[in-house]
Subunit: 360 residues, 2 copies
């Protein structure tokens, strides 16, 4: 297979972790005789630096021409603290999601057996957790009208949803549930929000088309508790943009490190793959950033093109690295000098030669 992959490393630790994911994709390309081409573009703080624009036109067109986008991270905190900044790295990511129409964000949350003791939660509570979060990504309060009054004393954001936006992601989530444990939980705040009531109405209607999927509803405040107290109750979680942001990040505590969580963002025409973590400027260029989230995002990219053996091999390699404690400091207590690129190299080696690496 021939694939043109647009690579947007972003800023902070983005470039470091993305480099490892590219390494892994190259190894997969070699091993399975695929032609993967990589074209690089600027986004976020890196693009602001060069073009004073977090999302240059050329980056958008690069992504539009590509078969898939591999995204690193953005969010240099230099910009975080200043509410008056005119350009911010995040605009790059948000603009890209919109420009590519990436409405469906999928975030797997899996408790790895080898990492159970890394979690903040008690082992017996999290073992066997396997959740798939469907987060709507191009609607809601993220993209509604924003206003700041002229005197600067009033500010507002509009959370708006249209039926079709809910339907398309709900169909995807129900289908995913059908191939899993057949349970779907809609998380909303329907006791307060009109938009949440629309979500409930639409999802209740669609549910009739998926009679073999059990569905329930949960208020977002309660979901934030249940995710910690009893994560195993969940199979597929479906939710709107802001709630999905909060809950999927929260869910990283189950897994032990946010450096492990990958995501796929799908639209009708385009697809992008990115870690859910941010740019962690403090960790930049120290070799301590965990590349696994980025590498697992590459696995999701392979899945997207039905390259399931390839994706499986990447995951096997990742599992192996975790088993053998070949991991960055966020996870490791055993060895303390395993760098970002060491992890990538181990996984690359495993792919090149699964049998041998196994024996080490």
């Amino acid at each position: 297979m021939k694939l043109n992959i647009a690579v947007l490393p972003g800023d902070g630790i983005g470039p470091e972790v993305t480099a490892e994911a590219v390494k892994v994709l190259k190894a997969i390309g070699m091993a399975f005789e695929h032609t993967f081409n990589f074209d690089y573009g600027l986004v976020g703080a890196a693009a602001i630096k060069e073009h004073n624009n977090p999302l240059p036109e050329e980056t958008i067109s690069l992504c539009k021409k590509a078969d898939a986008v591999l995204f690193g991270a953005i969010g240099d905190t230099a910009y975080d603290i200043d509410p008056d900044a005119k350009v911010r790295p995040e605009q790059g990511l948000l603009g890209l999601r919109k420009a590519l129409g990436l409405h469906t964000n999928i975030r797997p949350v899996i408790a790895y057996d080898d990492l159970l003791n890394k979690s903040s939660l008690k082992v017996k509570q999290i073992k066997d957790t396997n959740i798939l979060i469907y987060r709507e990504l191009t609607g809601g309060i993220y993209f509604g009208e924003r206003k700041l009054s002229e005197d600067g004393n009033t500010a507002s954001d509009l959370c708006e949803y249209h039926r079709y936006e809910i339907e398309r992601i709900a169909h995807a989530a129900f289908k995913a549930a059908q191939s899993r444990k057949r349970k779907l939980t809609l998380v909303d705040k329907a006791n307060v929000l009109e938009s949440s009531r629309l979500w409930r109405r639409v999802v209740l209607e669609l549910a009739k088309q998926y009679p073999n999927v059990t569905m329930d509803f949960m208020f977002v405040d309660n979901a934030a508790v249940e995710l910690i107290k009893n994560p195993r109750q969940f199979d597929v979680i479906l939710t709107e943009n802001m709630f999905g942001d909060i809950l999927s990040e929260e869910a990283s505590v189950i897994v032990g490190s946010i450096g492990l969580l990958a995501s796929a963002s799908r639209g009708d025409k385009h697809a992008m793959f990115e870690p859910i973590h941010g740019a962690y400027p403090k960790a930049t260029n120290k070799g301590i950033a965990n590349p696994i989230a980025s590498i697992l995002s590459a696995a999701l990219l392979l899945d997207h093109f039905d390259l399931s053996d390839e994706a499986a091999l990447v995951r096997e390699a990742v599992d192996k690295s975790l088993q053998l404690h070949i991991t960055t400091p966020d996870l490791n207590t055993r060895y303390n000098n395993i760098t970002t690129s060491k992890v990538g190299e181990f996984i690359e080696d495993f792919i090149n030669n699964p049998e041998e690496t196994n024996l080490n």
Copy 2:
């Protein structure tokens, strides 16, 4: 002191837990020679049943005349699932917050030494956690304009904030921080929301008036993680309405049971005290509801009138009950027949006779 207290038990487990809090307040009244009068009103599902109105006029005027309101819980799930319901119990609570102008909601999150092992989190992580959450309660997306298009295909909610709304709660939060560990964390989503940027701007300005308070900012998604991974880093958390709803409920996992979390809601003229938990219809009338959140809300009521010895005695009694495992099933593994009213009676007895109960 003479106090007129409006009691709104609400629905679900609300009446049961409120009855215990009233018991405790009566005991305090006797012990300290105060005159506490209790006047009852209907709200939520209970009021819908009688008046087809979750917040009857007479309930509002009862509360307005009272010195303080003791609120139980609302949210009979009979109404939850139906997005088309015209009247919902929640309207009672939200309407009351607005009618009484209760803009500042204060939610203490304290890890009790005797309950550390009840938490979903590892003991070493939560020990000594003591957080005070300041949640804005009458603004934001909870009270912004709601729209549903005529064809029913588009729904929206407006998240709007005015400078004065931010200032009044921020001052209260900074003052609270001054009498504690002098740290204030503003939680927002300033990388996306215009309203969050206004929060940052206003709070940054006010911070200059409180030079001895260290302040930092955290994005809400990150805060949802940090609250679990490292709760001890927080002293006072200040945030807007929706984020405060999610984070304060999430924080209950630290404490071991949401049945322990009390809250105070303050306005310029009125004050209301309520557990943060909901109506848990499934538990109604089984004697299993934990009355501690309601009893600790009564302690916050006493604090509000500077009755600090009285409040301290209530807390001592609560601590004692936890120490001796006189607790409802959500917390108890030792005895399994301790009912809601047994817990209230123990606390009442302790107040009547601290020395003796101590010896039991």
